[in-house]
Amino acid sequence: MNAFQFSDLISFSSLMSTLGTATIVILAGLGCLMTEKAGMMNIGLDGIITGSGFVAAVVSWAADSWALGLLAALATGLILGLFYGVMVIRLKSDEFVIGVTLNMFLIALSTFLYRSLPAEANGLHVTEGTGMPIPKISLSMGSSNPINISILVPVALILVAVCQVFLYRTRHGFWLRAAGEHPESLQSVGRSPAKMKYMASLACGAFCGMAGAYLLNYVDGFSEGFSASRGYIAVACVIFGRSNPLLVTLAALFFGLVDTVGQRLQVFGVVDSNLTAAFPYAGTILMMIVLAVYNKARKPKRKAETAEAVK
């Protein structure tokens, strides 16, 4: 095994690996920030990712086509987004309760169904022959070996720009934000806040569906609870990216970097693998604290308000 060098951490392959893990969080984060902007934060991302990832695995295995798998994941995401919307908007349930329950429900359901699959479908946990490999594009930079990344990675980055433009440069984006910030005024100009909220909820489902398909591809197949709290990391990124698509993406990239550093340190045997597994989670928490302290120091006027506000 090679000696550990810090230059290994800033190589082109590290960069790509960072982007690779961050893409899941970016996609899920985009979905979450849409609902946050519309005034109801969906924290059921993990469940939607796992559920749509499972459907993608089954469909792509049965149909032997990655495109159908991706479509199935998107459709599952949309259905779950609609379900969340109906529960929270129409039936006025608590958004956190629904989000947390959605996570547990879908993770348990997909595990249950996964175990009930016929024996020949057990190949779902390996990529070979399942039909799911999403086409990859090959990138090379100078002398380093070409690195393959999924086409969903550039798609995710384009979607970030699309979301940014949509939210801040279009009428619908304006209405969507108004539905969260001031639903009454949106109503007074004859627009339905509920409609915008449904739109956000559906978008969240679709984004998480795509994240599920990507994750399936990224970790080489479905396994029980395979989203590994990445959905919650996305929620954390949305919180300190203040729901701005670009800032959320930066936060997600930071998460990807921490994850990559952890993996690299593990490869070189510097730190025990059981400890590096905690890196992304601990890093995310530290990042939240640092940012919150920074924001608090910057706005001394609002200090009293924040300290008092428990809810």
């Binding site: 529960m87 129409r90 329950t101 348990a108 249950f112 009930s116 709290s229 400890l275 989670y281 601990a282």
Partner: protein, 371 residues
Amino acid sequence: MKWKERGIYLLSLLISIVLGLGVGALLMLATGHDPIEGYTAMVNGALGSKWDADTILKNSELGNTLYRSTLLIITGLATAVASDAGLFNVGGQGQMCLGALVGAYLGAELTTILPFTAGWPVWLLIVVCFLAATLAGAIYALIPALMKVRLNISEVVSTILLNSVALTFCTYMSNGPLKAQGKGTQTAAILKDLEFTRFFKPSNLSQAVFIAAGMALVVWYLMSRTTFGYEMRMAGRNSRFAKFSGLKASTLAVTGMVISGALCGALGMLEVFGWKHRYAVDLSTDFYWDGMLVAMIMRYKPLGIILMSFFFGILKSGAIRMQSSTGISPELIQVIQAIIIFFMAAEQGMILRFRTWRARRHPQHEEVISA
């Protein structure tokens, strides 16, 4: 009116449970199992067959059901205490893990690292371990609570992430610094004298159940019979109102969360002393989620949680038999639980819609909405 509300609540709870079990049956059918066979295996596996006066103490199925119910009661109450104070503790799993690790470590090493404790009576050693584990859980819950009230960082997210940190940390400790010689990923066994006596052998039920019952009683009393519990609930429901009533909402919220974490930490230690006798990675702490679901179903009412825990204790413990005899995966129970929550969560919205609809058609019912 209050009784009418309660009646509606109980009725919808019953309907939700029936619907949840119905969906469970459909899932069994869909995966090629016989639902009647599945549920029969579940009930048999949960209640056992030995019910005579002289054999009941050998009814290990019943013992396991009681054991499961205890776990659900404590975790459910832990969720409820925090929720009453206005915070959502999703991090019970991590708090429980740390409590178990601390308990296991002290149970094995206390007399070695602190030689003067060697002469202490057994009960005192147990109390020390119990308090240490409680403290570990409490401190681990204090972090997200402070993050919430001081920095306004969502406790749902931070507790979930802290779960993963605690789990990996405990795995690291039991595979590294605290690893038992020549064993897998586990710490050394606690001293023989400290182990709790087990009943209904070979079930997992032990003397720990009495401590857990005591904890449940204290929490129930605290939450529903004291001024402190009332203040906490008030602060949790409406922090601004609490502020104007001269209460410190943030302090109460932190206290609620710390009590919740302490309960989880203590439960982790009880798990170690009553059953595993060491910290091992297969020490199941994920039942915190089940307890949380029970608390949500019962809307964080202590008495309701205690009663409902027995029902879900039967489902959970029967699920193991169901799997061994029919091959149905035990995750089905979590699916059923989640469906019940969905129905219960939608219930209020549905009732409201129904009343609006009825009031529109029959205006004489108008007062029902305003009431």
